[in-house]
Amino acid sequence: MTERLAVPRDEYGFLVDPADWNRELAQALADELGIGPLTPGHWRIIDYVREHWLKHQAIHSVQQTCRHFGLDRKCIWRLFGGPLELWKVAGLPYPGLEAYTYMENEEPDRPAAPFHAGTTARPVSPADGPAGP
């Protein structure tokens, strides 16, 4: 496990250089964060967020990311646990303090019931896209 993760990371756990990233590392990071095996439903979002960062060097709204794939706004929480986990698995660097703060504020510290009745978090569903390989 430790060997798979032998790349420089900062104090927050972000990759220092996004160029160090590869799919094997992403899976290792996902394992470390307790996300489990990455499915095609995960990969397409990871690829999308990475592409946006490499193009703009900026964060991208969770809402627009979900919408791009025709998913509801809670898909990032269901699939990754929160926006910071997605950012880390995608191998992206520290996004800046206010961007980090806003992402952190959207992290459910109390995952038991992060959302209001009707949109309650649920396990990964077929609606999130293709299941595992």
Binding site: Q57, Q64, E98, T101, F115
Partner: protein, 509 residues
């Protein structure tokens, strides 16, 4: 997960028994030299910091007469002691506003009053020691500058002014707060707190246009850097990223669309927030505010409208004209600047917006007054407009609205717990504990009226509630934007042509 006890919600705020020093450990991260210097401050604590701090205090009290008055006038009557959400949430007596003020006042007395110079012990005057400085750093970052205590002070002493002065003094000796200072630097460098450059903003806004078109069949525009537009919208950059902020931004666009006015955002002035106020630095506040002036001139707009952001509205309403004015190039027929709620409210009163309130029937709403709007500014052209206008917008767009109890709304509103530059995860304990009174007020309307959602008009409030609501048994999505409610209910009547056709939107009215 928090490693401290989450306060228990009572029926209403109970004044806690004091627990001296329980929050002395709560200190935000210190700004690194690279984030101090762009703001004009020493990189780290200077060798002669004591001398410099006393000198700075003298300079500030000379420059701002109010500060000297506030330092002299307190009679320790105690009216403020139980008014602070941080005291109610933490029980640390140094979070009683009078005690927090006294951390600076006792040093002022020692060096700047006759009695303090010669008989310090008789008047509670003390030397500025490292211990005192540590207390300043801890407790002046446990004040969100919300000014609730000032409402109850018989002398009108403004605690926020004292906290701001203390932070300015600390910055000037090289002891700055990481969160505020790093973010102000980001505005100077990129144009907004979140670090979104022009192409990223353009991409986001294009995405919003597609989204609204898919949802409504109407081509509502979200323009960026369009010269010649009538209105420049300045909004917190959180509106481009976070939830429920972005829903508010979608709402502003729909209102402008329906009003038939041309408008634009600016990539250069893509931030309404102005953390210069939090650190008490008029110079940095001015540098941030000047970006708005420059953008308005460059784009040739006639009006400036601010989006939903509490402290930004204070800076806009109370400081913008003196910091970055005169705005004699804008249309004098409109307020300079104008709040998006004023803009929407005017249209509602004129009967120019149509709503289907049932679109919000899945929610029962209450409204959280943001402190800087409630106590440091105004809206509309009548007293109390800042309380009436947002509520009237909610009532026009929702069937179910209930106010929280009087002790926690309007001028008595409780801070969300994350204002004043405290919205950072190194201050999570004070943020969570400081949210206690608001959570108690919310619990009351949830239990008695079945309230499901709380609306707000401040980016910090919205983000803070997203984080802290779950700690008190609520859910993170129970906080909504006021213009999200507008967005849900508004009936778009203009530009409903078939896909592919040109939108007949702007410039018509």
């Amino acid at each position: 997960m928090a490693d401290f006890d989450i306060p228990e919600l009572k029926e209403y705020p109970i004044i806690p028994h004091i627990q001296p020093g329980v929050m002395a450990h709560s200190k935000p991260f210190v700004a690194k030299p690279e984030f101090q210097e762009p703001l004009g401050y020493p990189g780290e604590l200077v060798d002669n910091w004591q001398e410099k701090a006393i000198e700075k205090l003298g300079e500030l009290k000379g420059k701002y007469r109010s500060l000297q008055v506030f330092l002299d006038a307190c009679v320790k009557c105690g009216a403020c002691t139980d008014k602070c959400h941080y005291y109610l949430g933490t029980a640390d007596p140094k979070n009683m506003p009078v005690a927090r003020q006294d951390l600076l006042r006792k040093v002022y007395r020692r060096y700047y009053t006759f009695a303090g110079k010669y008989f310090p012990k008789l008047v509670g005057a003390v030397d500025l020691t490292r211990e005192v400085l540590d207390d300043w750093y801890a407790y002046y970052h446990q004040c969100s500058q919300c000014r609730r205590c000032s409402v109850y002070c018989p002398y009108g002493i403004d605690t926020a002014e004292i906290s701001m002065a203390a932070r300015e003094i600390m910055d000037s000796i090289g002891l700055g707060q990481k969160y505020c200072n790093e973010i102000i630097g980001k505005v100077f460098k990129i144009g907004n707190n979140l670090g979104l450059p022009e192409p990223a903003l353009a991409d986001t806004l294009e995405g919003l246009e597609e989204e609204v078109y898919e949802d409504t069949g109407v081509k509502v525009r979200y323009p960026l850097d369009e010269e010649g537009a009538e209105i420049l919208l300045v909004t917190p950059s959180a509106d481009f990223f976070a939830e429920p902020h972005v829903d508010g931004l979608i709402g502003y666009g729909k209102v402008f669309h329906e009003a038939g006015v041309s408008w634009t955002l600016s990539s250069y002035a893509s931030e309404a927030a102005n953390f210069g106020m939090f650190i008490g630095s008029y110079e940095n506040m001015r540098r941030v505010a000047l970006r708005i002036r420059e953008a308005a001139i460059k784009l040739g707009v006639k009006r400036i409208v601010f989006g939903e952001c509490g402290h930004a509205w204070r800076v806009a309403y109370s400081f913008l004209n003196t910091l970055a004015g005169p705005f004699d190039f804008l249309d004098p027929n409109y307020p300079v600047p104008q709040h998006i709620c004023e803009f929407t409210y005017d249209l509602i009163k004129q009967g120019r917006l149509k709503f289907d309130k049932s679109e919000n029937d899945h929610m029962v709403l209450t409204f959280h007054d943001s402190c800087n709007v409630a106590r440091a500014s105004r809206m509309g052209d009548f007293p109390g407009g800042q309380f009436v206008i947002p509520r009237e917008i909610i009532k026009a767009t929702c069937n179910h609205f209930y106010d929280m109890d009087d002790w926690g709304i309007k001028e008595a509103t409780f801070c969300c717990g994350g204002g004043g530059g405290l919205l950072t995860d190194d201050l999570m304990e004070v943020r969570i504990k400081g949210a206690l009174p608001r959570m108690e007020a919310l619990k009351d309307v949830v239990e008695n009226y079945g309230v499901t959602h709380m609306a707000a008009i401040c980016a910090i409030c919205k983000s803070q509630f997203t984080k802290v609501l779950p700690y008190y048994g609520f859910t993170m999505d129970q906080i909504v934007s006021v213009h999200q409610l507008v967005s849900n209910a508004i009936i778009l009547t203009r530009g409903t042509e078939e896909p592919g056709g040109e939108a007949e939107t702007a410039d018509a009215a």
